[in-house]
């Protein structure tokens, strides 16, 4: 299972206050000047029209996952969202993952909706 080991990199914490799930991620090593970083999210079944927001702890929106072409009841797959490398400090990065239900508000995704998160080092080319 692709994410079976990857989840170990992420400590998922649901916090009070701001909606969403805080994910604390650790890189296996420091980034070089020639590298960037992306966060990969493996999603489960999302209700039609629901979306996943990826934000920094300060609230900056990094990207929104909006499944398209997914059959009802089917898991939505894995998505990659670029992260500005300057957000990584001491090989660590914290993100807030939010399920946007639109008219029904925002909340933290469940374990079935967000199945795994990991960081990926990406060479700049």
């Amino acid at each position: 299972m692709l994410f079976a080991t990857l989840i170990s990199f992420a400590l998922l914490v649901q916090t009070a206050g701001a909606p969403g799930r805080v994910v604390n991620l650790v890189l296996p090593r420091s980034l070089t000047a020639a590298e960037g970083v992306a966060v990969e999210l493996k999603l489960g079944v999302l209700e039609r029209g629901n979306e996943i927001e990826v934000k920094t702890m300060s609230g900056k929106l990094l990207g929104v996952i909006s499944p398209y072409g997914i059959r009802s009841g089917e898991e939505a797959g894995t998505y990659t969202v670029p992260v500005p490398p300057e957000l990584v400090a001491n090989k660590r990065l914290s993100l807030r993952i939010i399920l946007d239900q639109h008219s029904r508000g925002k909340r933290a995704p469940t374990n079935k909706e967000l199945r795994g998160v990991r960081l990926q080092i990406t060479p700049n080319h």
């Binding site: 059959r71 990659t80 080319h125």
Partner: protein, 538 residues
Amino acid sequence: MPHKNFPFTRRSFLKTSLAAAAGAAALPIKTYAFSPAQTTTYTRYNVMSEGGKKALQSYATGIQAMLNKHPDDPQNWFRNAFVHLMDCPHGNWWFYVWHRGYVGFFEETIRNLSNDPTFAMPYWDWTAQPYIPDSMFDGVRTPTYVASYDTYIHNLDVFTAKFRPSLEAYWASLSAAQRSQLNVRGYSTFQDMWNDVTGNGDPGNEAFATTANARYLSRTNPKLDPATAQDCSAEIIKAGLQPTDYYNQNVSLSFTSSKTPSHMTPPGPNTQFSTIEGLPHNKVHNCIGGVGPLGPGPYGYMTNFLSPVDPIFFLHHANIDRLWVSWTTKQQQQGYPILPSGSELAQLSDEQFLFYVRGDGQFVGPSRAADYLSTDRFHYQYEPGFGDNLQTSNARQKRVKTQVKGVVKANRATLTVPSNAVREHLAPQATALVAEVTVPHPSTGSQTREFHVLVGAPEGVTQADPTSPFFAGTVAFFGNMSHHAAGGDATFAVPLPKAPQAFKGLATTNATIEIRIVPANGGTQQPPLLKRATIRAL
């Protein structure tokens, strides 16, 4: 290396290679004017440019002509959208290439029906213009235009009466190969397919939309919402163009989404969406269709697989295709492959696309993905937009995609390499520059079988060990020399030293690299004469 049999944009390849050879810096796209190349027949303009505005006039003429076609006619506007519903790949590595074919044949249809022989599909660069162009709210360019659309999509009953009989007849005419592909898609019966038109009880899955609901964004609300604008932002697009592999099983390093058994394989738990498909592509579709404000559905056309009913679809996908062209050009500039190789290339290329309709209204019949891997089939190029000529400060200088050969004289090879390439080579963890040195086999009975390769060593230096800044490596011959044919050569790949002392002229445009070989371990025998030396980047 680019695939040798792949004729993709030879013109742009030549142009960019020359620019790299001259050491030209990447040019910001906004700083130069665009002149269509004389060798390309059609130009897909930015919809905001004068060329784009002119194209939109013909686009409207063509749309109306397609709307006027009988539902039995494959060129009918809605029948054309059903090609997408029945055949489009998402979440796999045929996403780009299938849509290139789909947009390309559609473009020929509009060219034909608008009587504009110059027509090419304009693109909507949503990074630069994160709003639907105002002109796309005029007349038939919006599916909410009652005068042209309502007779078909006033409500589902009207739509069903108009199209279901024609589509059932079409379904009955499908070949065994087409039916087999549709089975993979989950459409074993006509009703399976039709359930995605009606939603089959799930309003969010209803591909049909009424005229009033056909497009969520409007002339008074044309902007992509902030979340969608973020997914279309410069930083996301730059990241999406970064991968150097057409396909990589690690999705963050892959330009395309998952490799699947068929382009019809529906997305599922193991699907991995690449950045450009997963973020801007998907989010623009859903934003225009009203995901969020119209939840839980039904949504406008763009949200489901009848999305080509909305004319903005083709401008959106022209932009996606343009980004593929941008990525391809970047790959060529940097010396990376633009396609997979070997069996992977065969797997990609041989996939059958069976549902396209030509510009003259006839079915294309069986065609292969290979037919659309380049832009040559449709003879177009793009007016530049965001994403073209992007290079990060860390981008490799593309120098070594063409190998640099040395001049060999008296057992010494001298090579000239762009200094930028050497500086990058010297950076920690950078991809290495490698010398390929060719020497003859030592003669039978030779006691010296190992030789050091020295780079930039001062004249008097005849020995070096791995601690020396001039030491590149050791080449060794193995086995009984008598087994080697007389006069045979051997070529060794040796990474160049990571020491600036080994290179001359680093402060200038081109650095000089001198390579010698000497007997290893203090041997006194003369080394074989260096015959050739070449430098490549890994």
